[in-house]
């Protein structure tokens, strides 16, 4: 039994995505930026699950399953890159990582 409408789920998903986007643009800590990226990813997953539920198909759910798998791999690689970056430059603040600028 669902009482919330599809629109409510989509609005929630959109607001979540926008908040993640704000975090990516505003913050300077690489780890927080990465967390905001994950937030955007799960926001899109929420939209997929809602669509799937309201249209009585399983495809969206299976797709979210794959998204979660890819996200796990992505987090592992991304954090390894951040650690490698920290070893090289001793910082994870994006405003101090500007060696390509000059």
């Amino acid at each position: 039994m669902i009482t919330a409408t599809l629109n409510e789920y989509l609005i929630l998903s959109g607001v979540l995505f926008a908040l993640g986007f704000l975090g990516v643009l505003l913050r300077r800590n690489t780890l927080v930026i990465f967390m905001s990226l994950e937030l955007m990813l799960v926001a899109s997953a929420l939209a997929l699950v809602a669509f799937s539920r309201y249209n009585h198909t399983l495809d969206g759910n299976v797709f979210v399953f794959f998204i979660l798998t890819v996200a796990a791999a992505e987090v592992a690689v991304g954090l390894a890159i951040i650690v490698a970056l920290f070893r090289q430059r001793r910082t994870i603040q994006v405003n101090e990582l500007d060696s390509l600028k000059n």
Partner: protein, 171 residues
Amino acid sequence: MAHVLFNCFALLTIAGAVGVVANKNTVNAAMCFLLSLVGLAGLFVQLDAYLLAFVLLLVYAGAVVALFLFIIMLLDTQGRQKWDFSKLAVFTSLVAFGLLLAGLGTFVKRGQLEAPNPNAAGGVGAALKPYAYQLFTTYLLPVEVMGFLLLVAMLGVIVLSRKAGAGEDAP
């Protein structure tokens, strides 16, 4: 009753997301991320996607947030950072955020999405059997590709986390 639950979980998710963006301390941001994921798992349960809620908690809340906390512990030596954003950065990111929300508002106002009654046929994602059936018939190739992707990611992480130049002076 169900609508109260939806509102609670939606509020939890949004509050967690705001906490991720607005928290100075990285550890607190990770904790807010965890909170947001718990709210999201609750929403998945409300959408009858029990398996996905479980996997979300297991993979994200269990593995990903733990990995984040581990890396924060490893790297973030200075603890809480000061807010020294340039005005331009704050302005542009707020404008981008506002534009996204405006797009959303337009969608709310003019959206013509007609969804069928969700309570007519019951949740498809509630049972496990259809998942297994789909994963081993229609989506067999993607499952194989995912396995390969995880293998490649594991190898990539091993290569990346070696000390730079460690393997070069070997005979």
